[in-house]
Symmetry: C2
Subunit: 240 residues, 2 copies
């Protein structure tokens, strides 16, 4: 079991992380009103029975995310709602099937818009790259290999082609965080081979973007993602 020795696998949370978790959840349920003072580092140090070092690192996280504001000399104060500085998906429970459906839905919203824009703004290289990823997928399936990587590349090429940098950045974040959960095209990577309709759906998307047909591209990827969700037993967009 050599992989057990691989670093960064059995990571135990640092004290500051645990403290930050607790304080963040307390702030979330608004136990202290925005604008009011937060307990001092000394008080928290005494309450959690850890050093001020740990408390400071925990508070640094909350400040970094915009949950607290601090000035030298004065106590930290609870920030107003709406001053959030980061969007995170860490604290989601993957057990809830409905929640996963909403994630699918969120992805479908962004990717369908990306496909529509990609059809309008694609460069010459975008279709070439898409075709390349399609062929890689096809070959991988033929060889009974994992086609997930090429699949991800295909979808990422679409948001790349959309030309909107925020769309692209957000989908990169989204992918890294939860693509393994929302693996809508998991069919590609299981060992039973690729359902022919999946590859066909990909081809339809590719053709629409290549032909610069915005509406068809949007419809095609919407269909693709709705089908992919249904293959996982999930319904999105109230599309029975």
């Amino acid at each position: 079991m050599e992989f057990l020795k691989k670093p960064h696998l059995k990571r135990v949370p640092k004290l500051s992380e645990q403290v930050a978790e607790i304080l963040a959840s307390e702030l979330e349920r608004a136990s202290i009103q925005p604008g009011e003072a937060f307990p001092s580092e000394a008080e928290l140090s005494e309450r959690f029975e850890v050093s001020r070092t740990v408390i400071r690192e925990a508070l640094a996280r909350l400040k970094y995310d915009g949950l607290l504001e601090s000035r030298q000399g004065s106590k930290s104060i609870v920030a107003q709602p709406g001053s959030q500085r980061a969007f995170r998906l860490d604290r989601l429970e993957v057990t809830d099937l409905a929640k996963i459906g909403y994630l699918y839905e969120f992805r479908a919203i962004l990717e369908s818009a990306a496909a529509a824009l990609a059809a309008k703004r694609r460069s010459q290289e975008n279709p070439e790259n898409l075709r390349k990823h399609l062929e890689t997928m096809e070959q991988a399936v033929k060889d009974h290999l994992d086609a997930t990587a090429a699949n991800v590349d295909f979808h990422m090429e679409i948001v790349e082609a959309s030309g909107n940098p925020f769309l692209k950045d957000f989908m990169h974040f989204f992918r890294g965080k939860i693509w393994d959960l929302v693996q809508a095209d998991r069919d590609c990577s299981n060992h039973q081979g690729l359902p022919p309709e999946v590859q066909q759906e990909h081809v339809t998307i590719f053709k629409a973007i290549s032909a610069e047909d915005s509406d068809i591209a949007r419809e095609a990827i919407l269909t693709h993602l709705i089908n992919a969700a249904r293959r996982s037993g999930i319904t999105i967009f109230n599309s029975e």
Copy 2:
């Protein structure tokens, strides 16, 4: 790094923030390959001529955002791309007009999808709240007051009505971060009075959601946001 310590300058970010900025930008241009070791805290402390405390708080930020991974006993390593843990909009330059257009666009994508879903899933209270915000806006304009707050509430009620918690959470983040920049309906809050078409656009959206007409709701809010962008001299969705 003596220039970092200028306490007489007002609004001086903390040392750890400045160091984190520098290190983050260095990581962004991939000066160190993913998987490779990052300089130790002692080295960085020496390089920046600050205490290890400052370095630790700076590194804590990078780890929190998933740019670095660390384990006790070993050097921190640069994380793989795709392990990003947070989506941020802090480091955007508001001077670039094209970039603001992409922000408008991003918002329009999410809100149009939200409106379409809201028409399907709205509760009984949602139209009531929307109507209330409409009236507040109308009254504010009539009294030559700022209608921005009610305007924001109106749009937020739509994403609330969409039923998708991620859509809602993200728009809350988005609003707090950049709504003042992407104030697409600024017309409502300036002192020259409300362009009649703006309130009319709002009414159209409200009616469509109330009538549970998904397609009209999407079209109406898309038109509204495209118009709002154009009133600010910005074109989105390549829609001249």
